[in-house]
Symmetry: none
Subunit: 250 residues, 2 copies
Amino acid sequence: MISDIDRFDETPKFLQIVKIITTKIDEEVWLPHEMIPTERAFCEELNVSRTTIRRAIEKLSDMFYLYRVQGKGTFVCPKELREFRKTSGMGFREHALKRGQVPSQKILSLEYVPLTAKVRTRLCLGETETRVHKFVRLFYLDAKLDSLNTSYLVLPEGETITVDELEETGSLYSLLRKKYHYIPYITCQESTAMKASEKVASYLELEVGYPVTYIEGVVWTLEHKVMEYVEIYRGDRTIPHQSMNVGGSL
Amino acid sequence: MISDIDRFDETPKFLQIVKIITTKIDEEVWLPHEMIPTERAFCEELNVSRTTIRRAIEKLSDMFYLYRVQGKGTFVCPKELREFRKTSGMGFREHALKRGQVPSQKILSLEYVPLTAKVRTRLCLGETETRVHKFVRLFYLDAKLDSLNTSYLVLPEGETITVDELEETGSLYSLLRKKYHYIPYITCQESTAMKASEKVASYLELEVGYPVTYIEGVVWTLEHKVMEYVEIYRGDRTIPHQSMNVGGSL
DNA sequence: GAGTGGTCTAGACCACACT
DNA sequence: GTGTGGTCTAGACCACTCG
């Protein structure tokens, strides 16, 4: 009934269990609001301790695959929430691909510019740093204009990125990952609605005064280092901007 | 050196430990990127098992208070991440207070309404539930109109909230916390820029067609229970809308 | 009372980073 | 080698739900 754990697989058991359960849910063997086997049942079936099962279920709760109710059981989350989580994040390219859209970009400029006070603050840089790489790009979805993106990048000392490299890779994040092992992990962002200025309107091919979403974001790597500060203008014709907050005080 | 656990306190040990550590960090006893005591050290100091310590540290990693590096130790997250995280989420009142602004609200309506398909889906409710509490409120910052907020609340069976209660407490979240121990923890949201409709414009005292941010959000409690579905319209004169994404796939 | 998830213990062994 | 976090076990008792 439940697939077995591969004892020769090096991946941790709890992650194997996560995989087993997500597969069952993604393939709709277990349906939303349906109760899944109890923790004790999993223990017997998979021959692992209850702690291990609980760890997997804990992870799956965070991932919005499952929710637990004390005294009752563990249940499958509604599909919408799972989908939501899977498409959250700021990776433009992956975001688009998940939705079955074709992303593309046009690089408008790439410069090595002096730091402004604002950018220095956002990138948490000290006084010793004086310049950063600035990218200006237009993003397209299914060949239709989507957004105007200005990125400020913190690269390792002496390193640089060329337009050719970026165009070859297609995605800035893939390139950074390949060259510097930068793995974008956390993004902090602020967004607000505004009227398109003359400049923004001309880039996005909108009328001046048309509503656009302005987003400022800072991207941190898995190692908690700042990687990018980005400013985005999006027309309202684009897909909604999704995000997920993990907050709340204790 | 480290405060002790209160053995007569009913709150779980791991949450008491979370509290102890967040206090140390908030009071800057432990500074960003500084290494905190090892798990084994905590075990001895607090007289708890390593599993319990790990659980607390796990939680604190999710909260961006700590990050762990295998073979090295556990470290304090940069302040920027924590600050951002602390002001993230959808608590209007706390958000405003943190910025030194004075929040206030005008309750337009409070009804116990039949569930629509959309709201049922968002709130992860089954077919047995038929009604929810619907709040419509106007939010002000420093006495200036900020946003139009429509909340759908899932309260425990038979429970209800009155306008008087809410006006007395001043904050919906404080009230929910006090009455039902609801602690908002995760919010999923979609936002988009749009032109103000006639209705929205009249509420927000804007011209029709003025840019507004439309936000749809679902709020989950610390226990991963759905608590609220909310629709917000914000004028562009307001403070930016903040959020934080945690990405990375498994 | 039986069954569920929630908390916790006291160990064990492993992978990784330092020196 | 020593010390760190990462994984895992086999139990225990509690709080809650439901028949």
